[in-house]
């Protein structure tokens, strides 16, 4: 396998200090409750609106104690698809923010802080870096209130980065317009005071120059992309129970899905959430629930019923570090085995795992089509990193005209007759040649039928008849449709040096690619290498593994080095 990658982890920066003047790595950090996310988002939005690409990450990592949080932004006029472990400009609201990021700061990095803050009076900025002591709180008070001190810091950052302050205005307008024009103006003023203070009091050569372009970008995260994909795909019913890091899907849909005749239901627990969605799907709605590992555990109870009743349902798992409550705000991809094998009995299922924010949108659309076309449950698998990453895209990335909706074998009233048995009874589990049965929505005349989690016959009624059992099991294997699905899935990204495998079940046969590669390395955010196990089982060949399970996502340069090591290890014995 070649060392460079085309997607996901884009290894453009491999050397520390390889500082392209137009590439800026910026962060704001402080304690939870300091408004870190909101401030970071404003800066990211300003960059995006100025026609720059942005890739953000949120850092909850703590080497000391809980409470620290940071919002990091990587920006360039070129496309950026990862974070790097290098910081150029840091707004530090606490001493700890500097300590936490010391490894990422380098010669010439700029640290913006408020030396008037009692906890920041003894800040020591290393000699090789530039410390800018700015009275953020006092300047914010001059603009109308201490609460705007982070915005003052954004003004300082604009001066440092040589990024026109006007670019901030529209982002501030977007963020604060609901609070009234006066608040918007105060914030714009706060930013200006920060910028002017920096221009008047410091005389450093920072070496940054943030060009702007005329490009229009949109800025969104993986959870929002999943929510938007659901609406685009015709999902009208969402039920869920709040859980980090899947809650953003629910919050995105709340209010928005209503505009399209849909509804978000906050359930009393995940057991209810999946059963509500199941009910809506039985009524004919495109329905979805989203959760994280602990919720998937509960939903597993009903998963078999969804499958055996052949109900189309999209179940989204935004993975976080487990097991049990684990580390709710940390990254891990440890649910794969659960998703592939969870639930008693044997159940075929789709497991579709988008690997980028834009894929979160398109794979969600596809998940609904797969679910209805094959009348099967689909696990749509994302993770914390995707959920909290905000990334810029040209709006046409989400071209709604490209959205296709395939509802499968929905039976119209005039077609009901052809699916009745000799006694005139509708057969919801009729064993068709392709394994997919007719589906009559409630309200369809003559289509009344039941179904059950018990093994059932074509009528959906309980049976223990051995021949019928075998017939229904064979039917649910969906072999024909699965093979067909694979054919169109196989076109996806297989012929490149970096293989991203969003289709995990059913998954493409990678034997040829693995045979052709000198070394195959499977990169996963878990300890065991669950996908590596699956691949080895598939191709009967050993693969190299790069695993990370400390709760923090891979950074591009770190990954590059790991891959280099893995390749070297392989090459030694030869």
């Amino acid at each position: 396998m070649e060392k460079s990658m085309t997607e996901g982890f884009f290894l453009r920066h491999t050397e520390r200090g390889d500082n392209m003047p137009d590439d800026l790595n910026w962060a704001i950090g402080g304690e939870a409750g300091d408004g870190i996310d909101s401030t970071g988002k404003i800066f990211a939005q300003a960059l995006s609106r100025a026609g720059r690409h942005v890739y953000t990450s949120k850092d909850f990592a703590s080497r000391i104690r809980g409470g620290y949080t940071a919002y990091k932004v990587r920006t360039s006029v070129d496309r950026v698809e990862s974070v790097v472990d290098r910081l150029d400009v840091l707004i530090a609201l606490t001493q700890r923010t500097i300590d936490e990021n010391m490894d990422e700061l380098r010669d010439g990095s700029v640290i913006i802080y408020d030396g008037e803050r009692t906890t920041m009076q003894d800040v020591e900025v290393p000699d090789n870096m530039i410390g800018l002591d700015v009275p953020l709180k006092s300047l914010a008070e001059d603009a109308g209130g201490a609460i705007m001190r982070n915005v003052v810091a954004l003004g300082v950052a604009c001066e440092v980065a040589n990024f026109s302050i006007e670019n901030l205005d529209s982002a501030l307008e977007k963020r604060f317009k609901d609070k009234g024009q006066a608040i918007v103006e105060n914030n714009c003023e706060a930013a200006r005071l920060g910028q002017e203070y920096a221009a008047e009091h410091f005389d450093h050569e920072y070496g940054f120059d943030l060009d702007t372009t005329d490009e229009d970008y949109v800025l969104l995260n993986g959870d929002e992309a999943i929510g938007m994909g659901a609406i685009a795909a015709g999902c009208r019913f969402y039920s869920g129970y709040p859980i980090t890091p899947a809650t953003d899907v629910m919050e995105y849909l709340t209010g928005r899905i209503d505009e399209y005749g849909g509804k978000v239901i906050q359930a009393e627990d995940e057991l209810a959430a999946i059963n509500l969605a199941l009910g809506a799907a039985r009524a004919g709605a495109r329905a979805m629930t989203a959760t994280s590992g602990p919720g998937i555990d509960l939903m597993t109870e009903t998963f078999g019923l969804v499958a055996t009743s052949e109900t189309p349902l999209v179940i989204c798992d935004v993975m976080r570090a487990g097991p049990s409550t684990g580390m709710p705000t940390k990254q891990e991809q440890g649910d794969l085995e659960m998703l592939l094998y969870g639930g008693h009995g044997e159940v075929d299922r789709f497991v579709v795992a988008p690997t980028t924010v834009s894929e979160c949108f398109w794979k969600t659309v596809e998940a609904f089509n797969l679910a209805e076309k094959y009348q099967m449950p689909v696990f749509l698998v994302s993770d914390l990193s995707l959920a909290v990453t905000e990334q810029t895209f040209p709006p046409e990335t989400f071209d709604m005209d490209e959205v296709e909706i395939e509802r499968g074998k929905v039976v119209a009233e005039e077609e009901v007759e052809s699916w009745l048995d000799e006694q005139g009874r509708f057969q919801p589990h009729f064993p068709t040649a392709d394994g997919v049965s007719p589906r009559a929505f409630p309200g369809t005349e003559g289509g009344a039928h039941m179904t059950t989690g018990l093994e059932h016959d074509a009528l959906g009624r309980r049976t223990e008849d051995t021949e019928v059992r075998v017939e229904q099991v064979e039917k649910r294997k969906h072999e024909g449709p699965m093979r067909e699905a694979l054919e169109f899935l196989a076109e996806d990204g297989l012929d490149v040096r970096f293989i991203s495998v969003p289709y995990i079940s059913p998954r493409p046969d990678l034997s040829e690619e693995i045979a052709a590669a000198e070394t195959t390395i499977v990169v996963e955010c878990n300890a065991k290498g669950q996908f590596a196990d699956v691949l080895e089982h598939d191709v009967l060949e050993r693969v190299e593994r790069v695993n990370k399970y400390n709760g923090v996502r891979f950074e591009a340069d770190e990954l590059a080095s790991e891959i280099r090591d893995a390749v070297d290890t392989q090459e030694v014995p030869q």
Partner: protein, 287 residues
Amino acid sequence: MSSDIRFTDFKSDKQPTWCPGCGDFGTMNGMMKALAETGNDPDCTFIVAGIGCSGKIGTYMHSYALHGVHGRALPVGIGVKLANPDLEVMVAGGDGDGYSIGAGHFVHAVRRNVDMSYVVMDNRIYGLTKGQASPTSREDFETSTSPEGTTMPPVNPLALALASGATFIAQTFSSDSQRHTEVVKEAIEHDGFGLVNVYSPCVTFNDVDTYDYFRDTIVDLGETDHDPTDKAAAREKIVDGETEYTGIIYQDENSTPWEQREGLDGNMADIPDGAPEDAMDLVREFY
């Protein structure tokens, strides 16, 4: 809906496998009659059942139906109703399904007050698993898993409903076919969540809460001057704990179903062939 629907239209050709004499026969017949007499059509009716003897009901009735997993029938019913409010949704369960494994959902289904009915076949015993204590079993009731009695007070489902903000609370006796049917009809016609707890005796495993016991002790509130809209009077009857009351115990006449409060009236199954026309607005929001 056609006007010539008869209750037998709600009957499937499958013969029930309940024990002869089981209260569930009468409970189900009343449900079918009530559905037909309130002008419902099997093709526009959705029955949800959980697990237990009561769970078999979807098989013996003719309508759209789902026989789900244990304890989760209510969320399924709510999902069906919200996705298509034109459907008549009736959920059937037992005391184990509704008040033990599904107790959490019961409280929240009552709170949400979606326009549907919930008929619970309460026989105060686990019948399908052959005779263990249920949440409504008496404290001194001896079973294979409670040889010294349950040593816990039974759940009072009506009190639980009242405390959860119920808008319709009723109780019936399966062998009083006429009253049972009348009350289930009222539950169907009620604008909101209609709870009917049915004394539905188990002739095989419960020799305490028998037909004779209920016949001798029941007080039908329909034959008294009880005013179901008087919440204080209803509370008194519900927490009484001594008398087996039947009839409509409480009804909030001003109840508005949740889906109406939320403005849901369309069929969510109806969607366009592609993304909604103005879907690019969703993308532009992210500028």
